[in-house]
């Protein structure tokens, strides 16, 4: 008898919980996704009449924390200074304060997606984040939820293809742009050149070689004498270098992304007595970290490409823009040192580019933002090299596609107008 009564009681409790739960379920999600703030009725999330919030997911811990921290510091410094001046004036006549909400993804795609999901309700747009897999991890979710994922720091071309990625736009040049810039310079040379190519066997290496080959197509003075690849996991490329040295090419196009491997290649080539002119990608051409230990002065020329000034250059702090950048970085981003990674300057420029778009926005919506984003042309962001500019109007290209070829002069880089 008592068991029966207990059973009945338990059943009623369970039923009660169930009913309450179903009722609650009926009430929730009633408003759908319409999470509009107290601004105009159609305002997107993350923007009010007085402020706008930008979301960033980027590696702030782990192996890529160095550049990752820079991707937040630069843009924080830029908007920190602008906020201190009173805010950013938008195209709708309102002045808004720019808030930045940055989260750490430790270069883990799964965490990047989690961060995006956390931020998408409070941030107007996602920007500046570093990394191909991490940005790819939430690309489709951003498209599905119509959240802008713009001016991100990856050389992956997929983000600059409007058909595949309608809510995305890359900031930094894609790999093809870099290879092509060097190819064009070489093709314009008055002499004949024999080129040996070594590239990393993945999308990175392939991108550089593709761009380079397209640029020298039809140039009679250029001959590719040998082309080899290596794996990103290889610990040395001595075999490839020995084979390439035998061709006696006078130009060595080396699309290599691994710092210690570049240094050992520089040294090994000298040991072999092969002294060509080099091309190196922008991320593995640092004078202090790579060329000096590799004794690069032994070669007739080391070329790379760049679009932004290097903060470690001796003249940088003396220029007006450079000094402002460094003081903003220290004051607003808690980054007192001279940054060793270019990403600080890049994310500072991302801030300046966003300001241009904000000035054109007449409605506080993500749709209007994307429309205006694709109209920036010929804008020279702070700390850009001469000749480089922001152009977001060209489909298939990131915001910066024009890069300048630079030649190593024993201390730093100077713009190279001609080859040789």
């Amino acid at each position: 008898m008592s068991t029966l009564r207990k059973k009945a009681r338990i059943t009623s409790v369970v039923a009660g919980i169930g009913i309450v739960a179903v009722l609650a379920a009926g009430c929730s999600r009633g408003g759908g996704g319409g999470d509009s703030s107290d601004g105009p009725a159609d305002a997107s999330p993350g923007i009010t009449d007085t402020s706008i919030t930008l979301g960033i997911t980027t590696p702030l811990s782990g192996a890529t924390a160095g550049p990752g921290t820079c991707t937040v510091a630069g843009i924080t410094a830029y908007f920190g200074a602008k906020n201190a001046e009173g805010g950013i004036e938008f195209g709708d006549g309102k002045t808004r304060e720019v808030k930045i909400n940055a989260l750490d993804d430790a270069y883990d795609p799964q965490k990047a997606l989690a961060n995006f999901q956390q931020l998408e309700g409070e941030a107007f747009l996602m920007t500046s984040g570093l990394g191909t897999p991490t940005n790819r991890a939430y690309r489709e979710a951003a498209i599905a939820d119509e959240v802008p994922q713009v001016l991100i720091q990856t050389g992956d071309p997929i983000f600059s293809n409007t058909e595949e990625s309608p809510w995305q736009l890359g900031f930094v040049p894609i790999y093809q742009n870099e290879g092509a810039a060097f190819g064009e310079l070489l093709a314009s040379s008055t002499e004949d050149h024999k080129v040996a190519i070594l590239s990393q066997n993945d999308d990175y290496g392939e991108g550089y070689v593709e761009g380079f080959k397209e640029a020298i197509e039809g140039a009679d003075n250029i001959e590719i004498v040998d082309e080899l690849t290596y794996e990103a996991t290889d610990t040395d490329v001595n075999a490839q270098l020995t084979e390439l040295a035998a061709t006696d090419a006078d130009v060595f196009f080396n699309a290599m992304s691994i710092t210690p491997l570049v240094i050992s290649s520089l040294l090994k080539t000298q040991e072999l007595g092969w002294l060509p002119s080099w091309f190196l990608p922008s991320n593995t051409s640092s004078p202090g970290a790579i060329l000096t230990p590799g004794n690069a002065v032994a070669f007739p020329g080391i070329y790379t490409v760049a679009f932004a000034q290097s903060a470690s250059a001796p003249t940088f702090a003396e220029s007006e823009e450079g000094a402002a950048f460094l003081s903003n970085l220290a004051e607003y981003a808690d980054y007192p040192d001279v940054p060793a990674f270019p990403h600080c300057v890049w994310s500072y420029q991302i801030g300046a580019t966003l300001e241009q778009v904000f000035a054109k926005m007449t409605e506080p919506t993500r749709d209007d933002f994307m429309e205006q984003l694709r109209t920036i042309k010929g804008f020279t962001a702070p700390l850009m090299l001469e000749g480089a500019s922001i152009d977001t109007t060209e489909d298939g290209q990131p915001a910066i596609s024009g890069v300048t070829v630079q030649k190593y002069n024993g201390k730093g880089y100077a713009t190279a107008e001609t080859f040789g």
Binding site: G18, A21, R29, L60, D104, P109, Q117, G121, A144, T233
Partner: protein
């Protein structure tokens, strides 16, 4: 206390408890906000991965540092199958079977070795896995990774994507947990336990330590494959980064923090894996690694048995405050694996 213990062992109370959990799981996805659903779904994914690790480490006592490799293989198989329009049930089965077969082969070799040598062999898995995934770009999409959107909610359900995905995770995850619970509480679980505590004794009882180590390892990789499939349900993208070695260590830490050799501990471990980065991000995104280290140390100092031992600690403390309590001599499990003791007390209760 004695009354409470009696209440706990009552069949109807337990049945009601299970019912409440089932109802909650069924209704929660409808009530919770989107981000909570997404977070719970991710917890489910990694709870399953930790559960697999628990079978081989917590229950059988063999150090495995390669669990993330099997999760990654499961995810890649899922992505490849979905992108080639294979039947989703077939994809699911392959996503379990292929990591399982890989695990079996590794185990056949590794289980011959004793102690730390197994750990060394399993370290190799994620270290080989990342470059392998980059090189086999026809199948894996190379270093750019591959995405597969197959878990969006179908029209007829009227559900949001996050709700639908959470339901998939709950159904598959709950089935995996239930099957594993039955496994470790039955004959095999006892065999695992003996292999863990003393291989010589196991041999003398007619239990082949080699065979049971291989079995545990294979089951762990099968469960890893399930977690890989669920990973694709929730994240819809995988890349070589997914199976990076660091994640294997985090999984291991999550297992210890949740509670080694415990089913509930696996769930708590999954929660730690997902929530620790999210919480530390809220405190200070620049200090996530340091804060996670601090949390790990703190939990292990206060609760060496993992989060699952929290109620036990609390109970012991209460009893300590009231010496002479008759319940002190009760059947409270104090050391893992608690499974056999629990079953006994449950049987006595009915």
């Amino acid at each position: 206390m004695a009354q409470a213990a009696g209440l706990k062992n009552n069949k109807w109370v337990r049945l009601a408890g299970i019912l409440i959990v089932v109802v909650l799981l069924a209704v929660a996805p409808l009530i919770l906000p989107e981000f909570a659903n997404q977070t719970v779904a991710r917890i489910g994914v990694f709870a399953v991965a930790v559960l697999g690790l628990n079978v081989v480490m917590g229950y059988t006592g063999q150090v495995s540092l390669g669990q993330i490799f099997f999760v990654g293989v499961g995810a890649y198989v899922t992505a490849y199958g979905v992108n080639n329009d294979w039947n989703i049930v077939l994809v699911f089965l392959l996503a379990i079977l292929i990591p399982g077969i890989a695990g079996l082969f590794v185990a056949l070799a590794a289980a011959r070795l004793g102690g730390l040598a197994i750990a060394m062999v399993t370290i190799a898995l994620p270290i080989v896995g990342v470059p392998l995934a980059k090189r086999l770009s026809e199948f894996t999409g190379g270093s750019q990774g591959t995405s597969a959107r197959f878990s969006d909610a179908p029209e007829w359900t009227g559900l949001f994507d996050d709700q639908w995905q959470l339901y998939i995770v709950i159904v598959i995850g709950a089935a995996t947990f239930l099957l594993t619970r039955n496994l470790v509480r039955g004959k095999y679980g006892r065999a695992f336990g003996i292999v863990k505590s003393n291989e010589a004794v196991a041999s003398s009882m007619g239990i082949s330590p080699y065979r049971y180590k291989v079995l545990a390892f294979t089951i762990a990789s099968l469960i890893g494959g399930v977690a890989g499939f669920l990973y694709m349900v929730v994240v819809q993208y995988t890349s070589p980064e997914t199976m990076s070695f660091g994640h294997s260590i985090t999984l291991l830490a999550s297992m210890v923090i949740g509670g080694a050799g415990s089913i509930i501990g696996s769930l708590l471990g999954g929660a730690y894996y997902v929530l620790a980065p999210q919480l530390t991000n809220l405190i200070d995104p620049n200090l996530t690694a340091a804060l996670q280290g601090a949390i790990l140390l703190l939990i292990l100092f206060v609760l060496p048995g993992g989060l699952v031992s929290l109620p036990r600690l609390w109970r012991r403390k209460r009893r300590g405050a009231r010496p002479g309590d008759p319940a002190q001599t009760g059947t409270v499990p104090t050391s893992p694996p608690p499974a056999p003791q629990n079953t006994q007390s449950e049987e006595r209760g009915t």
